[in-house]
């Protein structure tokens, strides 16, 4: 598996790009998905630049989480076109598992494995790398996830004793250990305390300088704080894509305006 991953990295660097779009990490066009006869995603098209934050917002049931799961290939039977690092997702060298290394997915509820903190960080690596992790890897990713200071003295203790907020950051570190080319986050701070929320947001802003993030959130204020590009989804479609400033001050579409009005009403 290790060798597979290495070759896939190499291929990403050397193989011929499918299209010539530079500076774009992910390009999705015409993505459709139906589950159990229901159309969850209808005709999704968007692209992510090679770094920066992208916020996916929209009412419940709009298909935001489903979209992330499609990108991570947890739903495999989507239709349409998905170019990741200029490669078709379906023909990814090394297969789906290798592709998932590139797309770190952080779930809403942290799912740590019942083993030590250190083992959790290296969980996704190949067995050789797990036995002898690259020097400094654990510290680097834990620092990136703003968790290092809290756990540096107890890396061998069980991850289950961490608080939910710490567990969520551990999940981010775990995904980062695979050196992904983008991070997909599904409401990473829902049901977390304000302090953890703040730490995670700090970590995300920092990460966005090196890779694209696609972050689902319900929290309008959080979206405003994080900034970047806003992708507004409703009923399985992308309604509006705009920069955060434009979207929150002068939304173009009626649905977006309605959504913002109701959301702010709910909050106050």
């Amino acid at each position: 598996m290790n060798t597979k991953r290495k070759t896939s990295d190499m291929l990403v660097a050397t193989a011929q790009p499918a299209t010539t779009t530079d500076g774009v990490s992910l390009q999705v066009s015409g993505l459709k998905l139906s589950l159990g006869g229901k159309n969850i995603l209808r005709d999704i098209s968007f692209s992510l630049r090679e770094h920066g934050i992208n916020i996916l917002i929209g009412p419940s049931g709009a298909g935001k989480s489903t979209l992330l799961r499609c990108l991570n290939q947890l739903h495999a039977d989507w239709q349409g076109e998905m170019l990741i690092m200029n490669h078709h997702a379906r023909q990814w060298p090394g297969g789906t598992d290798a592709l998932r290394h590139q797309m770190g997915l952080i779930a809403q509820k942290p799912a740590v494995f019942p083993c030590s903190i250190e083992k959790n960080v290296t969980f996704g690596l190949s067995s050789r790398e797990r036995k002898h992790p690259p020097a400094g890897l654990i510290e680097r990713v834990l620092r990136q996830a703003v968790l290092w200071d809290e756990v540096k003295d107890r890396l061998h203790e069980s991850a289950a004793i961490l608080s939910i907020g710490q567990q969520q950051r551990l999940c981010i570190a775990r995904a980062l250990a695979l050196s992904p080319s983008m991070l997909l986050l599904d409401e990473p701070t829902a049901s977390l305390d304000p302090r953890s929320k703040q730490l995670i947001e700090a970590s995300l802003s920092q990460l966005a300088e090196t890779m694209p993030l696609l972050c689902v959130t319900h929290d309008i204020e959080q979206a405003q704080r994080l900034g970047g590009q806003i992708i507004f989804m409703c009923d399985g479609r992308i309604i509006e894509i705009a920069s955060a400033d434009t979207f929150f001050t002068r939304p173009e579409r009626l649905e977006a305006r309605e959504f913002l009005r109701w959301s702010t009403c709910d909050c106050s």
Binding site: M1, N72, L74, T96, D97, A98, L99, R100, H101, M103, G104, L105, A107, K109, A111, F113, P114, F123, G124, S127, S158, A160, I161, C171, R174, A175, L178
Partner: protein, 291 residues
């Protein structure tokens, strides 16, 4: 009225349990008193010459259970993995139904199958004088305990939370790594209880074993010889209890066999409960064990 009924039920049950164990001990007492604990290791069991060594039956029970588990554990776990990880709804239901069918076949019918299908087959394929042997008992038992292991393992695998599966999946961990590093370790407590339950069942199974084991009180020679007629604790009780007169030393010796079985299976279920974190005869333990 309700209160009386509830308390009477509990009381009756407790009295029955205590009486049962009490009578097992008291009826086997003459044997222990007269022959001593050393008879557990003695090899001769000839009731007419008043020799009552337990070793052949203990070794027989041990071997039959070991053979059964060696076959049933990999098969049962593989079937459970297959049904939860590789099969879709209807097939899974079919496999589960098949297991329930196997579990539902009465042991005496297994005995019949063993006697008239397995024994002739073993006899001809291994070129033996008689098919009656420990291997046959073990094979038959493996079929009988397979559903226990499979169903417990399946339930345990089902209980591994979907979050854990998806977290592993989204990290790009491949199928067999997921199996060995996420699913099986997390399902292990349940699988282990299933194995222990199956062990208890294999030790206590009577009819099927009695029909195929041959009922010869000999220590296997050499010790790993599974292809000669032998005896287990249960088959000895089943074969001889009709001949022994109540109150005789022979009867007491058979009661001692029963007591051994009861002690062994109680120990196994205590172990199963303790490992599940449910060992609760000492209050406070269970609470502290949970994280």
């Amino acid at each position: 009225m309700l209160n009386l009924w509830m308390r009477a039920s509990v009381f009756i049950t407790l009295v029955v349990v205590i009486l049962m164990l009490g009578f097992l001990v008291s009826q086997s007492w003459p044997y222990w008193w007269q022959y001593g604990i050393g008879m557990l290791f003695a090899g001769e069991w000839y009731p007419y010459e008043r020799l009552f060594g337990m070793a052949p039956a203990i070794i027989g029970s041990f071997w039959a259970a070991v053979v059964a588990l060696i076959i049933a554990i990999p098969t049962g776990i593989a079937a459970a993995v297959m049904s939860t990880e590789l099969m879709s709804g209807p097939w899974r239901g079919l496999l589960r139904g098949g297991m329930e069918l196997l579990a539902g076949i009465p042991s005496v019918v297994y005995g019949l199958l063993g006697l008239w299908v397995l024994l002739p087959f073993l006899q001809s394929s291994l070129n033996l004088l008689t098919g009656h042997n420990l291997l046959a008992a073990g094979l038959l038992l493996s079929v009988m305990v397979l559903p226990t292991i499979m169903v417990m393992a399946q339930d345990a695998l089902h209980e591994v939370h979907i979050n854990q599966r998806e977290a592993a999946l989204s990290l790009g961990i491949d199928w067999n790594t997921r199996l060995w590093r996420v699913l099986l370790p997390q399902a292990w407590p349940g699988i282990r209880s299933g194995i222990l339950l199956a062990l208890g069942r294999a030790l206590g199974e009577t009819m099927a074993v009695m029909l195929v084991v041959g009922s010869m009180d000999r220590i296997p020679d050499p010790w790993y010889n599974l292809l000669a007629p032998a005896q287990t604790l249960t088959s000895r009780i089943g074969r001889e209890i009709g001949e022994a007169t109540f109150g005789s030393i022979h009867f007491a010796a058979l009661m001692a066999c029963g007591l051994l079985l009861a002690v062994a299976t109680i120990a196994i279920s205590l172990l199963a409960q303790e490992k599940r974190g449910q060992f609760t005869f000492f209050p406070g333990e269970a609470g502290s064990r949970k994280k």
